[in-house]
């Protein structure tokens, strides 16, 4: 039924093959970097292992001490860091793509802030334990996201309105947080503050299982929505013209993005800026206007893994920083740079 004559497609196919090659090499390089960082995280510390020792331990033939240090202390921590990195990165990438705004990331528009406020409320006021606190954080993120969506709704949701309302909500949530902390007992407040910075220390396998399960369910959804996402990048009108119901797709993908951010925040606290920077960095590395979801996820994992490793070893002695401080230190300058350059060109990443 096609009305078009076929034309010689060799140059196009060639160009696409080259793009594919570049995509694959970027993914491979990121994977390799991740493996290196992972090896460092597992091997280096107060008790350092050589590479052969590490491999031996990972295959289950280490000494009792090595097993304990690597498999019980360092591996859960690394695994959780990688998983939440992926979750945050994909959440940010979805938010930014669906709302077509580089500032639309769960940590900027108050979704992770909502999780924080709910978590601190449950810790300080209700005196909940860690599992209940995680659930509260999850609920907080969902409630805030729904509130933003409803407030931004005017017969449809437009990116910039969503972001503006989200930023407003983020400030409100900050206010609530400040109030809760100021009312709290000093010791309790200290615990809450640590949670608020975000840290993967004390990772438990049940946290890891929850994050892994959520990713296992949502990654295929994202993969299937990939064409719709690409259509949505071209604006609501063109998306509709291509056969994609913009509003419905946006809502579905926002739900996925919120679930990812909520799960990750519930597990480790609001690791600042990972969601915000991962996808733009991946796109810049690739030099593409495409989605770059896989590279974005890998960049996210890399950021959290590096941040956690740095946080553990930056300060001499037994002092350990929460990973959120490191991600914040990477993310804040990027935000400034983005604002500075987007002013020049009149558009964002």
């Amino acid at each position: 039924m096609t009305t078009l004559q076929r034309a010689d497609a060799t140059p196009l196919a060639h160009a696409r093959a080259q793009r594919g090659l570049r995509n694959r090499s970027v993914v491979l390089v990121l994977l390799a970097a991740l493996v290196v960082v992972a090896a460092f995280s597992l091997a280096v510390g107060a008790y350092s292992l050589s590479v052969p020792d590490l491999l031996r331990t990972l295959t289950g033939q280490g000494s009792q001490g090595e097993n304990f240090i690597v498999l019980s202390l360092r591996l859960p921590r690394l695994t959780l860091a990688v998983l939440v990195g992926v979750a945050f990165a994909l959440s940010g990438a979805l938010f930014q793509t669906v709302l077509r705004n580089p500032l639309a990331s769960p940590d900027i528009i108050g979704v992770t802030g909502g999780a924080s406020a709910a978590a601190v409320f449950s810790m300080l006021i209700l005196g909940f334990g860690s599992v209940a606190t995680s659930l509260a954080a999850f609920a907080g993120a969902i409630i805030v996201a729904c509130a933003i969506y409803l407030l931004a709704w005017r017969g449809g949701v437009v990116g910039y309105r969503f972001v503006l309302i989200g930023v407003g909500v983020a400030f409100m949530v900050q206010g609530v947080l400040g109030y809760l902390l100021s009312r709290a007992d000093l010791n309790d407040a200290q615990g809450a503050l640590l949670w608020l910075v975000g840290s993967v220390s004390g990772a438990r396998w049940q946290d890891i299982a929850v994050v892994a399960l959520v990713l296992f369910v949502l990654l295929p959804v994202i993969r299937l929505a990939d064409g719709r996402l690409q259509a949505l990048q071209l604006g609501d009108d063109l998306a509709a013209s291509l056969g994609v119901g913009a509003e419905r797709t946006r809502l579905l993908l926002l739900v996925v993005a919120v679930a990812l951010a909520a799960t990750a925040t519930a597990a480790v606290g609001p690791l600042a800026f990972v969601a915000f920077v991962a996808a733009p960095i991946a796109r810049r590395v690739l030099g593409t206007g495409g989605l770059a979801l896989v590279p974005a996820a890998l960049v996210g994992a890399l950021i959290t893994a590096v941040a956690d490793f740095t946080a553990q070893h930056l300060l001499p002695g037994q002092l350990e920083l929460p990973a959120g401080i490191i991600t914040g230190a990477i993310g804040a300058p990027y935000l400034l740079w983005l604002l500075a350059t987007s002013n020049k060109t009149g558009k964002g990443a």
């Binding site: 034309a7 077509r100 063109l238 509709a240 013209s241 291509l242 056969g243 796109r283």
Partner: protein
């Protein structure tokens, strides 16, 4: 197989303020239909309604006799394509990537890219003379090049009926002609039905097989340009006095607007508030 695209008594509007109220409209298969009318007369709204970008508050749009709202979106997209007035592209997207996205409705769940897709994208780029731009970033192109790329994307979608909302706006006259020639060629050689909104009445008259004149959400005239574009119709559609002369290039009607300061010599009864002759000639020079 040709599909009939038809609006049956549709009421369209935003926030329940109707812009178009109970309108009937039928797209003539294989023809170039041009919709003209003053700003806010409902031209774009009609296009959006036809391509189910806005849902009618009443009435229905049918494609091949079936309500378009009940058909699967991707299926409709293989028959009807719309190029909006100001399409958006993500930063850093290359021309080839963008044009390729037009293939979306033809692809399955996992979007396997086939050699047919490649060939059709290549053909769309050849038709719009954009092959040389394939690896360039869209934001680095000139306005005329960009518009050709967007049309290439619409052609890659390979619709039977192509709707375009002001495809020549923001283009200089050379590029306007280039784009319209491209669409005419597409129509004549491939039988693609074209429906577009244009602001330039003379270009509309020249390129249209079928002209639709709208005012305040209603169609006030429709037919071949020679029958449709009369001084009375222009007056009632645009509140503008104009002389209609034959276009010296192709004989289509050409609208020559009169305005407040010109053509009064031909007017036997000038208005009493007319400026003094000295002022008039000065105005004349300015205008």
């Amino acid at each position: 197989m040709t599909h009939q695209l038809r609006a049956e008594g549709i009421t369209l509007g935003y926030d329940h303020t109707p812009i178009i109220d109970g309108l009937d409209f039928e797209v003539i298969p294989g023809a170039i239909t041009v919709i003209v009318g003053a700003n806010a007369s409902g031209k774009s709204t009609l296009l959006k309604g036809l391509s189910r970008l806005i849902k009618p508050d009443a009435g229905q749009v049918t494609l091949g006799g079936r309500n378009i709202a009940a058909l699967p979106g991707k299926k409709v997209a293989t028959v009807v394509g719309l190029l909006p007035q100001q399409p958006i592209a993500p930063d850093g997207i290359t021309v080839a990537d963008l044009v390729g996205r037009g293939r979306y409705p033809h692809q399955g769940w996992f979007r396997q890219w086939s050699s047919t897709d490649d060939e059709i994208v290549a053909a769309a780029m050849a038709a719009t003379n954009t092959e040389q731009l394939a690896a360039r970033h869209l934001e680095d192109l000139s306005g005329g090049q960009r518009q050709r790329v967007w049309i290439a994307m619409a052609l890659a979608q390979d619709p039977e009926i192509l709707l375009l909302d002001e495809p020549t706006t923001f283009l200089d006259v050379t590029h306007q002609i280039e784009v319209l020639d491209l669409l005419l060629e597409r129509n004549r050689q491939h039988g693609t039905t074209v429906v577009m909104v244009l602001h330039d009445l003379n270009l509309a008259a020249r390129y249209a097989d079928h002209l639709v004149v709208m005012r305040a959400g209603k169609i006030i005239a429709t037919g071949a340009p020679a029958d449709t574009l009369t001084a009375e119709i222009v007056r009632s559609a645009f509140d503008l006095e104009a002389r209609i002369v034959p276009d010296p290039v192709c004989g289509a009607p050409m609208v020559v607007p009169i305005g407040r300061f010109h053509g009064r010599a031909a007017d036997p009864d000038p208005a009493p508030a007319d400026p003094a002759p000295a002022t008039r000639s000065r105005l004349h020079q300015q205008v």
